[in-house]
Point group: C2
Chain length 370, copies 2
DNA sequence: CTGAAAGCGCTTACAG
DNA sequence: CTGAAAGCGCTTACAG
C-alpha cells in the first residue's frame, strides 16, 4: 500500500495537473461531488494528509501540500461542511441575532457580514428575536446549541444585554457585540461611537448660529439613545449652551414618537429653531409635525437625523443626518469573529479600522432667521 | 443483550416519566447534549427505533413511540441536524435568494419564512446575489451544493429567471418562486397577482374623477413592473380611458427615477392630475418633484404608490399605496417548500390561502380640481 | 512529516 | 414491528 502510494505520488507529481488518470477523474465527476477519499486516492496520500492540507496544518511537506492543493483546485473539491462540523463538534454557521431595528440597518448588516464570509465556507443564519420577551435568551441558547454555531453577531438592542452575553460566554459561544460603547473586552466588541456623532451635531448646529435647540432621544433602555443624546447635550454645554430639561423629549425611535416629540417641542417659547432627532424615522416625524404647523424646513426649522437611511435622501428637503457605515460594521464584526480561525478558506476581507460616524450635510439645516 | 433491553423496557414503561434511573439521567446531563444513544439506552430500545420515532416512521408500535417521545421530551433531546444531514445527504437549511430589492421587503420576507420554520428544525440562510452578473447562477449552484440545501426561496427579480429555475431543477434542489404571475408549476410558485393591484389603482383614480393620468413603471425586465403598469393601463381602458404613450414613463424602481419621471410627466399639457408610481420609492420621488414645482399633494396632484413600505406612512401627506402582505408571503413560501416533509418537528404554521394585494387609502389622493 | 484506527450522531439497506 | 452492521465525510488521538 505504501509502495503504491509512493508510485502514484511520483506519477502525479511529474504529470501536469491536467493529466490526471482518466479513470480516477471520471470516478469523481460522475457520482456528483468528490470526497476527501477521492482526493487522497488521486494524490496518492492518506486522507489524513488531505485533512491536514485543508486545515492548514504545518505538519505537511511543502511540496505535498502544493500537490494536494493543486489537485483539490483542479477537481473543484470542497470539504463537506456537515461532515467537518460533525467531527469538529461545531458548525460553520454564524448567527446574526437582532431585535427589531430598522430594516435597512439589518439588511446592510447582513450584506457586510456576508462580505467577510464570502469564500470562507461559513454561512450566515438569521435569528430575529424579541428582547422584551421573558425567555428570549433561552430561545437563543437553544438555537446556538442545536446548530452548534461557530459564533454570533449581536446587534443593538440585544447586544447591550449583559445577561445574553453572559449566557453565550458560559456556553462557550463566540460572539461580537456591536454597540455604542465598550461593553465587553475588545475581542468581543465593535464600537460605533455614537457619542462623538452627538457632539458633532451639536457643534454643527451651534456653528450655524442656533441657540434654541430641541432634542428627541430614543428610549432610555437603548444605550445608543443615551450616547447620542448625551453627546449632543455635552457638545452644546462645551460651547456654552445649556439645554433646558423641557427641550429634551424621550421618543421611541418611531415615526409617531417623532411627530409627538416635535409637537411638544415646537409649542415652547421661545420656539426651537433646530431639532436633533436621534434617528431618521423620528426626524421624518418632525417633518410631518412641522409641515402640518405651517413651518418650513429649513426656513423656520432645521432638522438633523441619525442613520442615513434611504428615507433621509427621499424626504424633501433632503435630511442632514449622521451617516453610519453599517455594511462596513457588519463586515468588521464578522471579521472579528473569524479572527485567528485556521479553518478559513479563501482570502480574508480587508483589515479592521476604527468605525467613525460622521454628519452627512444635505438640505434640512440653515442659520436661524433674524 | 436483547433480554436486557426487554427488561429495561418494562422498568421504564412501568415507571412514571420522572423516575428515570439516576445514573443514566446523570450521564446525559453532565456531558452536555444527549444523543440518540442515550435515548435508546434509557428507553430500552435500539437507536434505530429511536430514529424511527424521530422520523415518524409507521413501523413503530404506538406505545413504544409514545414512551420514546415522552423520554425525548423529558430530557430535552433534539437530534443533531449535522449528523442527520450527513446521513440524509442533505441539510436542514433553507436558502433565501434575492437580488437587491428594498430592505423592508427582504426583512419582512425573512420574518415570514422564519414564522413557518419555527420549531421545525430548519434554519434560514441568506444569500443575496446580483442577477446582472454573468456567473451569478454558478454562485448559487455552488452555494446549494456545498450546503446541500433542503430548498430555496426565490424572490423577484431572481425568481423570474427561468435559467436559474432550470439550474435548480437539474440539481434536484427544491425551490419556490415568488412572482407576479404563474411562471412555474403550482408546487413551485407563489403568485402575488400584481396585475389585479394595477387594475385596482386605475379604478380608484378613475372613480375619484381623474381623466389625465400619469404612470411611472419599473424597469421592463421586471415582470412585476409589466404587471403593475399593464394592469393599470388595462383597468383604465376598461373604463374608457386610453393612456397616451407619453403619459407612461419607464423608471428604475429608484427614488431618482421617480423624480425624473414626475418632472417629465408634469410638463405635459394637459398636466396629469394623478400619478401612479409602481413602487413607493418612486412615489416619494414624485413628491419631491411636485413640491419643488410648487404643486401641492393632493390638492394639485394625487399620487399612488406600491409596496406599503414604512416610507409610505412617513411621507407627508401619507401615501396611498398598494399593500402587500409580504410577511405572510414569506411564511407561505416556506410552507410550500416544507409541504409533505415527514422530518418536520413541531406544529405547522397556518395553511396557505391566496395572496391578494389591496389598496391602502391614506391622504395622497382626492378628486381633481375644477 | 505521514498514516491506520476509531469516532462524531445520525441513517440506509438488510435481516429477522 | 425491531435490531445489528455498515456508512455518510470528515476529524481527533495515537503511532511511527
Amino acid at each position: 500500500m505504501k509502495k503504491q502510494n509512493t508510485a502514484r505520488r511520483k506519477t502525479a507529481a511529474s504529470a501536469p495537473p491536467s493529466q490526471v488518470e482518466p479513470g480516477t477523474a471520471k470516478a469523481m465527476t460522475e457520482g456528483g461531488k468528490s470526497t476527501i477519499n477521492d482526493v487522497a486516492r488521486m494524490a496518492g496520500v492518506s486522507k489524513k494528509t488531505v485533512s491536514r492540507v485543508i486545515n492548514d496544518s504545518p505538519l505537511v511537506r511543502p511540496d505535498t501540500r502544493e500537490r494536494v492543493q493543486a489537485l483539490m483546485q483542479q477537481i473543484g473539491y470542497a470539504p463537506d461542511p456537515q461532515a467537518r462540523g460533525l467531527a469538529f463538534r461545531r458548525s460553520f454557521l454564524i448567527g446574526l441575532i437582532y431585535d427589531n431595528p430598522t430594516a435597512q440597518y439589518i439588511v446592510n448588516m447582513q450584506y457586510g457580514a456576508l462580505d467577510a464570509l464570502r469564500n470562507t465556507g461559513f454561512e450566515l443564519v438569521v435569528h430575529p428575536c424579541d428582547s422584551k420577551s421573558e425567555d428570549y435568551i433561552q430561545g437563543i441558547r437553544s438555537f446556538v446549541q442545536r446548530q452548534k454555531l461557530f459564533g454570533v453577531i449581536l446587534i443593538p438592542r440585544v447586544s447591550e444585554d449583559q445577561d445574553l452575553a453572559d449566557a453565550l460566554r458560559e456556553m462557550g459561544c463566540r460572539y461580537v457585540r456591536i454597540a455604542s460603547i465598550a461593553l465587553d473586552e475588545p475581542a468581543r466588541m465593535l464600537q460605533t461611537h455614537d457619542r462623538l456623532a452627538g457632539i458633532e451635531v451639536a457643534n454643527y448646529l451651534e456653528s450655524l448660529g442656533h441657540r434654541n435647540l430641541g432634542l428627541i432621544t430614543g428610549p432610555r433602555r437603548y444605550r445608543s439613545s443615551i450616547e447620542r443624546g448625551g453627546g449632543f447635550i455635552d457638545g452644546l454645554a462645551k460651547r456654552g449652551i445649556q439645554l433646558p430639561a423641557d427641550c429634551a423629549y424621550e421618543g421611541g425611535y418611531t415615526f409617531e414618537s417623532g411627530v409627538a416629540g416635535a409637537e411638544k417641542l415646537l409649542q415652547r417659547t421661545p420656539r426651537p429653531t433646530a431639532i436633533f432627532a436621534c434617528n431618521d424615522e423620528m426626524a421624518a416625524g418632525v417633518y410631518k409635525a412641522a409641515l402640518r404647523m405651517g413651518l418650513s424646513i429649513p426656513g423656520d426649522l432645521s432638522v438633523v437625523g441619525y442613520d442615513d437611511s434611504p428615507l433621509a435622501s427621499q424626504l424633501w428637503p433632503a435630511l442632514s443626518t449622521i451617516h453610519l457605515p453599517i455594511r462596513d460594521i457588519g463586515r468588521q464584526a464578522a471579521n472579528i469573529l473569524l479572527a485567528g480561525e485556521p479553518a478559513l478558506r479563501g482570502p480574508r476581507s480587508p483589515p479592521n479600522m476604527a468605525v467613525t460616524p460622521h454628519l452627512s450635510v444635505r438640505d434640512s439645516c440653515q442659520p436661524p432667521k433674524g
